[in-house]
Assembly symmetry: D4
Homo-oligomer: 249 residues x 8
C-alpha cells in the first residue's frame, strides 16, 4: 500500500464510501507496508546511478542469468560479486556485454554509463600482492556506485618508504580503503598520516597463526590510530559500500 | 497512537473535521506507533498474572527502589533478578513485603497472589549442589509467571541411579528445565528418557578448561538426544521464561 | 523383559513353579530391561504418526537401503537427513516411492499419510536465501512428525519491513522456528514481537569472522529477547523435533 | 624543521652563507622532520575547534593534572576519557572549571566554546540501558570535536517498534553511531533503514557466552546490512572520532 | 529396595501374601533402587580405607563442619580439597585433630590410620616451584586413598639433567603423576623414559599466552609419547583418584 | 655403548691397555648412549609380545613397505595405524598375510601369535555408530599389545538403558576405554558406575559447534566423575597404549 | 633522488640556477625518496651473497618464470619457497639449472656459488619425521643466505636420549633452529642445554587438539627455558632469515 | 660427579684400587651427573658478569630475602623480576643497597659493577607510553646481563614520522627489541628498516578485542617483515635474555 492508496482510502472515508471500522481494519496491516514504501523510496534515491548487486557465491550460472534477466527490465547496471570464473561463459552467452574481473571474481554489466555522484576520490590501498583481489573488489564496487577511485598497490609496512613516497596521493584522497592481510598494520600507519576517514579491510592472506584473517582483523580493531573503522574479512564490497555512503555526505 | 485514537481520526475524516491531506500526514508516522499498540496488547495478554521484571545487575538499590515505585502504581507483581544481597536492606525498608532468595539472588514482591496460568508442571532438575543458584532462579521465575513448579536436585550423571530412581517425577513433568555445569551431560540423559520439551541451562560451575560454562554449553548444543534446546550460561530466568511460553500453548 | 513377562514370572513364583532364588536371579538383570520397556513404551506413544529417522551423513546408499528395508516391516514412515544427492538414485531403485529434497538433502518415504497430531501451526522463518536449506530441513521434519507447518523466507533484519508486513502470520503461529546465519539477529526481533516459543537455529552461512555459524550461535544465545532457546548450528532437524514436542503439549 | 626553516636554509645556501656540504648534512635528517611538519600541519587543521585528548586509564590524577597543565598554555580544550571518578576531586582542585560525566567516565575542560565544524548531525543510538556509558563517551567526544549530536536511547531490537517510531530522527541524521551489547543486532536493523554511514560500536554488556563483547563485535562484522563499519569493543571515543572525520567531508 | 527386601517380596508372592498385581506395581519402581544398591555395594568396596571427600570451594566453614559432623558417625577419614586457609580456624575448633596443608589448601582428618591398599608406589613429579600446590594436592589425596607416594620436585625440562639424574626413582615407580604448567613438556619426556602409566596434570602456572593452563593442557594431549593420559587443569585430586584406581588393579 | 662395552673398557683400563685420559675421552660421550641402552632395555621388556607400530598417515605405500621390510628381520608383529585403504593393495602384494580393518584404517601383520600379557580384560565402549572407527583402532591396538579385549557398541547416554542393561560386562572389566563424540557424556556415566580406571577418548564425530571433537574433549576433562583420564581427539591408539600399561601393573 | 642529486640541487641553488621556491617544491617530495635510497643501500649490503626470494604460493608457473627472468639480469641467486611440485616442469624448461626440493617445496637457482658470510654454524634440529619439510625449508634458506648449516633429525623429547647423545653437535652450534609439532617441547629442552640463541619453529604436524600447530606455538611461547624466540607456524624461511641476521652480528 | 672425580675413578681402576664391577656400578648413575657438570660449566661461562635471577611473582618478601641471602655468598649480582612494590621495604631493610624500578617492578642488587660482555648496543623501542613497563624490564635485564642498552620510547606506527626521524639510532643498533601492545605493528615497520635481528615483545596493553595481548602477539607472528622473532606477552625479561645471547655471538 503506497501513499496514493492511503490517500484514496482516506478520501473514500471522507466521502462516506468506506466505514470507519472497515478503514480501521485495512489500516491495521498498513504500518509495515508503508514502511516498505518509505524504505523503497529512499533506497531508490540511493540507487540513482547505483548498480543492482547479486552475491554470486553459492548461485549457479543459471540462477545468476535469471536474476540478471529480471533486472534488465529496470535498465539498472548490474554488479555480481564472488562469482567463480567457470560460471562466466554461460552468462556471457546470455549477456555478451558483461565484463569479468578474474582476480576479484567480480562481474559487471553496464546498461548505461556510471554517473559520478560521489564528491571526492576514494583511494584503495593494499599492502601485498595477495591482497589485490580484495582491493579490486572494492575498486570495482566503488566505481559502479558512482565514485572516482584511485589505488596504491604493494605499499606494505615492511617497506614503509614505498608508502611514504606517495604522500601526495594519500593526502588528496577523500576517503581511504586500506586492505591488508598478515599482521594488518597498514591502516594504523595510513590513519596516522591522513585526516580523512579510513576503512580497514582485513584479508585472509597469510598462514599459520593468521587464522584466515583473524589476526589482521584484530589488529585493525585495536589500531592505535583514531578514526579507523573496520569491515569483515575479505569484504571489499562492504568497504566500498560504506565509502560510497560517506562520499555522498 | 492507539486504536481508539485511530478510529477517532478516521471518524473526524468522515465527518469532514479533518482534511485528507492532514490525516495523511498524521498517518505517515502511524505505523510504528500502531505496532507499539499491537505489541503492548499482546504483551498485556501475556502478562496476566506475570510479574514486571527488573534486571538487578549493575543497578543501585536506589535505582531498583525507584523502578519498583513506578511499577507499584500498576499493582503488578515484581521480580528482580541478579540482585546482590547487600542491596536488599534499603529495598526492604522501602518495600517491607519483599522476599529475597540469597542463593539465586532473586527478589520478589507480591501485590496479589500469583494466578496459575500454565497447563502442566515445569520440572527443574539440577546436576550438582553448585548448580542450585541457577536452578532456583528458574524455579522462582517460573512460579512468578504462573506455573506449577517441581524440582529434583543433585541428580548428576556420575551417579545415574539417583536420577533413574525418580522416573515417575520425570515422566509426569510437562516441560523440563535441566541445569548443569562441568561436562553438561545431564540434559542428554534426561532428553533420552522423556517425551516432553527439555530446556538445557549450562552453568559456569567448574574450573580449568570449563571456561566459565562454555564446556557445558557446547555439550548441550551437541547433545545426541533430540528435542533439547539451550539458553545462555547461567540463564535460569531465560529458561523459565521460555518454559512459561511453552506451558501456555 | 516386558511387563507381561514380569507378570508371568511373578505368577509362576506364586504358583510355586519358580523358586524365590531363581526369580531373584532373573530379576537382578531386570531393572535396565524394564527401563528399556518403559522407554520404548512412551517412545512408541510419541511415534504414533512419527517417522523412523536415519542420519544419512557418512552412510553409504547400501547402508541406507538396508536400514530402510528393516523399517519397512514396521510400516513406519521414513525420514533420512543429510543425504547427498548422489546416493539417491540407488535408493530410488529400491524404493521408488521416495521423495528427495535436494536443497535440504532430506529424503522421505511415506508408507501411510502423515497424521496431524500437533495442536497448532509451526512457523519456520528464515533470514536469507542461503538459510533456506536448513529451514527446509526443519519444515520437512516437522511435517513428517505430524505438524501443520507454514513458512516465511527472506525476511532478514536488514530489511525489517519485509518481516513486519507479515505480522498476522507471525501472530497466528503456535511455535516459531527462526533460521538465520551471518549476524543471527532475526530471532531477537521475532522474539520481541510474539508471545509464543521461539526456537533459534544458527546457520553456517557467511564468511570471514562468521566462523561457520559461531557468530550467529553466540548472538542467539545472547539475545535480549526472552523466551528464545537455541539448537546447534544448521540443526533444522533438532529444532523441528523440539517444536514437535512443544506442539503436543 | 618546518617549511620556513627550510626556505631560510635554501636562502642562505643561495646567498653563500651556508656551504652545499653543510646544507646537505642538515638535510640528511630532514625527511622525517618534514613529514613531521606536514603531519602536524594537517593535524592542526583537524584540530581547529578540536580538543587535546588524554587517555585516562592507568594514569594517576597527578599525571593527568600535569598533562592538562602543559596543554593549558595552548588554550586548547581538553578531553579526558576512561577516567575513574575517584581521580576527579584533585583534578577539580587544580582546574575548577572541568565537567565530569560519571557514567562514561569522561572529563572535559573548555578554554573556549566548541565551534561547530561538522556539516550534519551525528546521531548516537543505543540498544539497552547498560550501553549508555559507551554511548555517552561517543556523544561527548563528538560534541567536543565540533559536531551537532543527537541521541536515541533504549531502542533495542527486542522491542523493534520503539526504534521504528523514531524513523524521522533516523532519516535526518548525517552519520549514525549505533551502540549495542548482547547479540549486537541493532546496527543491522538501523543499517537496513537508513542511507547514511553507520558506525557500529559493540559493548561488553552481557554475561555467559557474551565473552565481554566478542559476540556483539562478531555480529556487527557479519551484518547482512551493507555500509556498516565497526570499531573496537566499548570504543565510543573511536566511533566519534571516525564520525567526526566523516562529518567534515 | 535391597536384595533382602526383594527376596522377602518374592517370598510373600510365593506364599500368597501379596498378589501378583501388587508385586508388579512395587517392582515398577524397583530398577533404579536396585542399581542404587549395586552401586553402593561396589562403592563400599572401593572405599575400604578411602576417605570421604568434600569439595571445599564455595562452601562456608559452617557448611564444611556440618558435613564433617555427619561423616563422623561413619568413622571414615575425611579429605577436604580447595579449602581457603581463612576457613580453617573454626573447623579446627570443631575438629581439633585436623591437619591443614596451606599450599595445596587440602585438609585431612584421620579417624583411623590410612591402610595401604595400593600395590606399588605412586610417584608425583612437578616441573617448577609454582606447580607444587597441585602436586601436593595429588600427594595428600593419593596417601589418603591408601597408596605409598613418593615425589620429585623442580625437575622441569629446561634443566633436563635434574630429571635424568633421578632415573632410579623414575624406574621404580608403579604409576607416575606428572604436574607441569607453562609449556607442559615434562610428561612427554617422562613418558619416553618409563614403561608405566603416566597421568599428566596441567597447571594454570604461567602468564600471557599461557591462558590459565590451556597451553600446558594442549601440549599434554598432543604428547608424542604414548601411554599418557590427561586430567583437567590443576586437578591434582582427579589425577590421584585415577592413579589409585590403577594401583588397585 | 652397552654395559658389556663399558665393562670391557674398564677392564682394559685396569689391565693398562688404555690410558686414563683416553678412557676419559671415550666416557665423555658415554652418558647418553648408556641412557640409550637402558631405555632400549626396558623398552624391550615392554615389547615382549608387543608390535612394532608405524604411523601410516602421510607415508606412501612404498615407505610403509620399506619399514615393514626392516622390521621383518626382527620377527616382530607389525601394527600400522591411520593407513588409507588405497595404500593397502601394494602392501598386500609385498606381505600377503596382512589383515586390514577398513573402518579404523588399521593394518596388522602377525609373524607369531599375540601372547596375552595383560592381567584382565580391557572393555572398549562406544557411544554412537560413528564412533566405531576410533573404538576399533583401540580394540585392535590393545589386542596386538597382548590384552584380552571386549567391547560394547552403541550405548550412548540418550538411551541410557542400553548401557545399564550391560552392568555385568561393565563390572567385570579391568580397564575401560570409553569412546564418544558429540557431547562426550558417556565417560561420566560409566565412571560413576564402575570402580576401575576409565580412559576417555573424544571423537571428532558431530557438526556445528562440535568443533571437530573439542566439545567432547572439554566435556571429558570436566567430568564430574572422578578417576577418568583423557587422551587426544580420535586417539584410539593412545588410549589402548595407556590401557596396556595399566593392564600390566 | 639520491644524495648526488641532492648535492647537485643545492649546488644549483648556490649558483643561482634554481630559485629557492623551486628548490623548496622539489624538496617537499624529497623525504620519502631519500628514505628509499637509504633503505635500498643497506638492503644492498645485506644482499651481498643473498638470494632474491619469491613466495611461490598462489603464483602460477608463468608468473614465477616471469619474475625469475627479471632477476636474471641482476645475476642474483634465486630462492622460491612454497612452490608446488606440479609447477616445476615448466620452470625447469625455462631455467634448466634449477634445483627443486620436493619435501620442503623449495626451488633454488644459482647464478654464482653462495659465498659464506655467516660467522658460525646454524644447526637445524627437528623433532619428528613429519617436521622435516619445515626443517629443510630452513636449511636451504640458511644455506642460500650464506651460512654453514648442520642438522639433527628425529630427536624428539619422547626419546630424550637420542638428543642427548648429540651434545657435542649441540654445543658447537652458533645459532639453533628447533622445529617441532605436536606438543612443541623440544625447544625448551634444547634451550636448557645450550648457551646460544634458539629460534623455535612450531609446525602444523599433529591432529585433534593440535589445532594446526597452535599447541606447539603456544608451548614454545611459554617455554620455561630463557633465550628462546619464536616464529610463525611452519615458517622455516623466517627462522632461517632471523638466524642469518644473527649469524652476521 | 665432575670430570676430576671421573679421572680419579679411572685412575683407581687402573691402579687396581677399585674393581671393574664396582666402577661399573658407580658409572651407571654417571651419565646424568656428567651432563649436570657440563651444563653447569657452560652456564657458568654464560654467567660471567650475569646476575642471578629471581622470578618475584607469587613469592613473599621473606622468601625473596631468603633466596637473596643464599646468593650473597656467591657475590653474584641479583635481578628480581615482577616484584610488587609493597614487598620492597622489608627487602630494603635486609639489603639496603638494592635499587627498585617501580614501573617495571624490577629490583637489582649489585655486589660488583656489571662488566660489559655484549659486543654491540641493544636498542629497546616501545610504541606507547603504556608499553614502557615492559620495555624497562627489558632494559634493566639487558644491562644487568652486561650489554650496552639504548632506548626509543613513544614511536608508535600511528605517528610514523616520530620513528623515522630516529633512523640513525635505529641503524646503529646491534640488536633491536621492539615492544608494542594494541595492534602490535611496530616490529613490522622496524624490521623493514633495519638489517639486524629484531625481537618482538607483545604487551597486554589495550582493551576489548585486544584479549590481553593476543592481538599484538598474533600480529607479530604474522609480520610481513622477515627476520623477526617473538617472545611471550609482556616478556621483557625473555627478550633481553635472548638479545644477550645474540650479543655475545
Amino acid at each position: 500500500m503506497d501513499v496514493d492508496h492511503l490517500r484514496n482510502l482516506l478520501g473514500r472515508v471522507r466521502r462516506g464510501k468506506v466505514t470507519v471500522e472497515k478503514a480501521l481494519k485495512e489500516l491495521k496491516t498498513l504500518p509495515f507496508e508503508v514502511v516498505d514504501c518509505a524504505t523503497i523510496d529512499h533506497h531508490r534515491a540511493l540507487r540513482q546511478g547505483a548498480p543492482e548487486t547479486i552475491f554470486g557465491e553459492g548461485k549457479t550460472a543459471t540462477q545468476v542469468i535469471s536474476i540478471m534477466g529480471k533486472i534488465q527490465g529496470k535498465k539498472s547496471n548490474v554488479l555480481v560479486t564472488r562469482l567463480d570464473q567457470k560460471k562466466v561463459p554461460p552468462i556471457r552467452r546470455a549477456f555478451p556485454k558483461i565484463r569479468y574481473y578474474p582476480q576479484s571474481r567480480v562481474l559487471t554489466l553496464l546498461h548505461h554509463p556510471v554517473k559520478i555522484v560521489g564528491r571526492g576520490t576514494i583511494l584503495v590501498i593494499s599492502a601485498g600482492t595477495s591482497d589485490i583481489p580484495v582491493a579490486e573488489e572494492a575498486i570495482v564496487t566503488a566505481q559502479m556506485m558512482g565514485n572516482r577511485v584511485d589505488h596504491l598497490y604493494d605499499v606494505g609496512v615492511a617497506g614503509i618508504h614505498r608508502l611514504m613516497s606517495q604522500m601526495e596521493i594519500l593526502m588528496s584522497a577523500h576517503i581511504l580503503i586500506v586492505v591488508a592481510g598478515m599482521e594488518g598494520a597498514l591502516p594504523s600507519v595510513v590513519g596516522g598520516l591522513v585526516d580523512h576517514p579510513v576503512i580497514a579491510v582485513p584479508t585472509s592472506v597469510g598462514y599459520g597463526s593468521n587464522f584466515g584473517g583473524i589476526t589482521a582483523l584484530l589488529a585493525m580493531l585495536n589500531s592505535c590510530a583514531s578514526g579507523i573503522s573496520v569491515v569483515n574479512i575479505d569484504n571489499g564490497y562492504g568497504a566500498a559500500h560504506a565509502a560510497s555512503l560517506m562520499n555522498r555526505l
